[in-house]
């Protein structure tokens, strides 16, 4: 009898525990985002256009104002402008030369490019060439401000901002020349605003453009050219009831309080997907082979791209290049994840797609409208082209045994100025503190560890991915990269050689909201 009762009680306790455990798991399954997503989505207040109804714009290529034996000189004006992004609405943008994306610069490996920027915006700016192997003086350090006309010192140190002074900052009035030796592999770089504390809203308002580097190794390959090579800058945005860009800045003048409203601390996601500044555009193609130069210029949104025909067939995405140029051999993907600031060089073959049908570039990480990116309308026969099986032979190879230093670096949430922020090794960004000192020419292994999604970017150098967690790199980690996407709880080992130039550089999370809210650190090359 005694045993009977105790067993029943035991079963009762067991059932209770089981129910609590199952309830907890069910709650987690229902509430947690699967797949995980770092950031919160704004909801647009204007009617959104039908997908695949707007033609894909191609950013115009900027002509140099002077070309000499020493290089090319370009001029750009940073200005406010109005543009029609949502059909029938006029949206105020901050732009390079009046367009979003800004004009594209085409350059050659080793040929010096000078870009003179004039700031006609209401706030200071800084231009950084992402992925550029650039001397520190032109790398766009976040405090190397270009002040607008009539800007007073008192206004620049707003009440709620960092109020940090940086004795090393080189501040100029209205204009600044940036010099780029471009002594680097052929690839697609991008330039964008990098002002301390306000990078995210500045990019959101339109301060981003593409910059190509070409070289003989690339030219020697038989790759699609001309109108068969498409730059695709993917970026999400949201629009308010007036058709203006919505963004939850604490200080919309972008001069005082830094950061965004609390719910968006993890990142700002838009519900409109723009490609080259157009919402869910459509591009007419033939049945030939296309080269897609893709950049994720979103502040926080990750995508997982796939190309799907109308019959639901997936076309392979053949990766031929990474952030820092061509791979040694192509890698075929069914789906390709792309984090903020990452670039992929892809070949897409429309060879067996029937003329008159569409191929959708979809985002597997999106839901509803954000599950679409753009579409290709196959409208005529083209000529087929083989995909080269061997690509570049100039990829640097570094071995773990050559590393002078191995560093563990943690990217995680924390407190900053009494609010939620984002920290690297427990500290928010401070221009006056050197976080990592590396010797010029040294090979180093960095082990990066993340709590949530953190796309980690190193200035100056490209790196190879040695490992993800305790395992092998993923297929899309191939080649030379400058940004690596860490997923929640994930870590990665990267290896690089710090060569090029001495000086003060940065590494940071390229979730632009995280970057503004502390997740940036100094890298001093000595």
């Amino acid at each position: 009898m005694a045993e009977h009762v105790s067993r029943r009680r035991l079963l009762g306790i067991g059932a209770g525990l089981g129910a609590v455990a199952a309830g907890g798991l069910a709650l987690s399954a229902a509430w947690a985002r699967r797949p995980a997503q770092t950031g919160d989505q704004l909801v647009s207040e204007v009617p959104l256009p039908q997908p695949f109804s707007v033609p894909l714009p191609i950013p115009s290529v900027l002509a140099p104002v002077a070309s000499t034996a020493d290089g090319d000189r370009y001029e750009m004006v940073q200005m406010e402008t109005e543009a029609e992004i949502i059909p029938g609405r006029s949206t105020r943008l901050w732009t390079y030369n009046g367009t979003f994306p800004g004009p594209t610069i085409e350059s050659r490996r080793g040929r010096h490019v000078t870009v003179a920027h004039r700031n006609e915006l209401p706030v200071p700016t800084v231009v950084h060439l992402h992925g550029g192997r650039t001397p520190a003086s032109s790398d766009g350090y976040p405090t190397d401000l270009v002040l607008p006309e009539g800007w007073t010192e008192s206004a620049s140190h707003g009440h709620g901002g960092h109020g940090m002074t940086d004795g090393l900052a080189v501040v100029t009035n209205v204009q600044r020349e940036y010099g780029f030796p471009l002594d680097q592999r052929a690839t697609m770089l991008w330039y964008h605003d990098h002002r301390m504390d306000f990078t995210a809203p500045a990019i959101w308002r339109g301060l981003a453009g593409l910059h190509f580097v070409r070289d003989d190794i690339e030219d020697a390959l038989d790759l699609p050219r001309g109108d068969h090579e498409l730059p695709l800058m993917i970026a999400d945005r949201a629009f308010d009831a007036d058709g203006q860009l919505a963004y939850p800045s604490l200080d919309p003048s972008l001069t005082g309080e830094i950061g965004v409203e609390e719910p968006f601390t993890a990142g700002v996601l838009g519900d409109v997907i723009l490609v080259n500044g157009a919402p869910w555009p459509l591009h007419e193609v033939d049945t030939g082979l296309y080269r897609l130069r893709i950049l994720n210029a979103s502040n926080a949104r990750h995508y997982e791209l796939e190309a799907v025909t109308e019959e639901g067939r997936r076309l392979p995405l053949v990766q031929i290049g990474a952030d820092q140029g061509l791979l040694s051999a192509p890698v075929r993907h069914e789906r390709l994840p792309i984090a903020p600031a990452e670039r992929y060089d892809l070949l897409l073959d429309f060879g067996d797609v029937p003329v008159g049908t569409k191929v959708r570039l979809a985002n597997r990480l999106g839901s509803g409208r954000t599950a679409d990116v753009m579409a290709f309308h196959v409208v005529r026969e083209g000529t087929s082209m083989p995909i080269p099986e061997s690509l570049a032979d100039d990829l640097p190879e570094w071995d773990r045994s050559e590393a002078a230093v191995v560093r563990d670096i943690a990217f995680r949430a924390g407190r900053m100025n009494g609010r939620h922020g984002w920290l690297i090794d427990g500290l928010p960004f401070d221009p006056n503190r050197t976080d990592v000192t590396a010797r010029l020419g040294d090979i180093e292994v960095w082990r990066l560890i993340a709590d949530v999604h953190h796309p980690v970017h190193l200035h100056l150098v490209g790196f190879r991915v040695l490992a993800r967690g305790n395992g092998e790199p993923l297929p899309h980690d191939a080649g030379l990269k400058d940004t690596i996407a860490l997923r929640p709880g994930e870590s990665a080992e990267i290896i690089t050689r710090f060569d090029g130039y001495r000086g003060r550089y940065l590494f940071h999370c390229h979730n632009a909201e995280h970057e503004d809210m502390g997740m940036m650190a100094n890298l001093e090359i000595v």
């Binding site: 005694a2 509430w31 947690a32 870590s491």
Partner: protein, 145 residues
């Protein structure tokens, strides 16, 4: 509790069988390893890369222990005629498999709450196995039938 203690004090043949001791040993190792796992995870997420290797090693060891515990629980079922340790151990083993794959896949929405649930299950099983003797009871069991 009183009833449980009456049961425990049943005079003859109350010495825990060898299979029972093996099961208790497995459950004890499971408990130690189980509590070490979140520690390793915390070390890892605080920025020490080696914490991940320890977390993976811990997961491998716990997988082996959980299988050993199921084996010992089978022996206890036969020798001691007690079935619940088997079902509890089996549930923990299967939960552990799910936990392993959730961890490898980075499915933190599952990995975190399941980890907490497993620790609770491991703790309760450990306590239940040590609270009462597990005596060999082959013949009595036959006549019971």
């Amino acid at each position: 509790m009183e009833r449980l203690s009456t049961l425990d004090e049943a005079p003859p043949g109350t010495r825990t069988a060898v299979s029972g001791w093996v099961l208790r040993a497995a459950a004890t190792l499971f408990l130690i390893g189980g509590f070490a796992q979140p520690t390793f995870a915390g070390v890892y997420l605080s920025g020490d890369f080696d914490g991940l290797a320890a977390h993976v090693l811990g997961a491998d060891l716990l997988s082996s222990i959980s299988i050993a515990q199921v084996g010992a629980a089978v022996a206890v079922w036969i020798r001691v005629r007690r079935a619940w340790p088997f079902w509890a151990s089996l549930a923990l083993m299967l939960g552990g498999v799910a936990q392993y794959f959730a961890g490898m896949e980075g499915a933190l929405w599952l990995h975190l709450p399941l980890g907490v649930a497993l620790i609770a299950g491991i703790t309760v099983t450990f306590a239940a196995l040590w609270m009462r003797p597990l005596p060999r009871r082959v013949k009595e069991a036959r006549t019971d039938g």
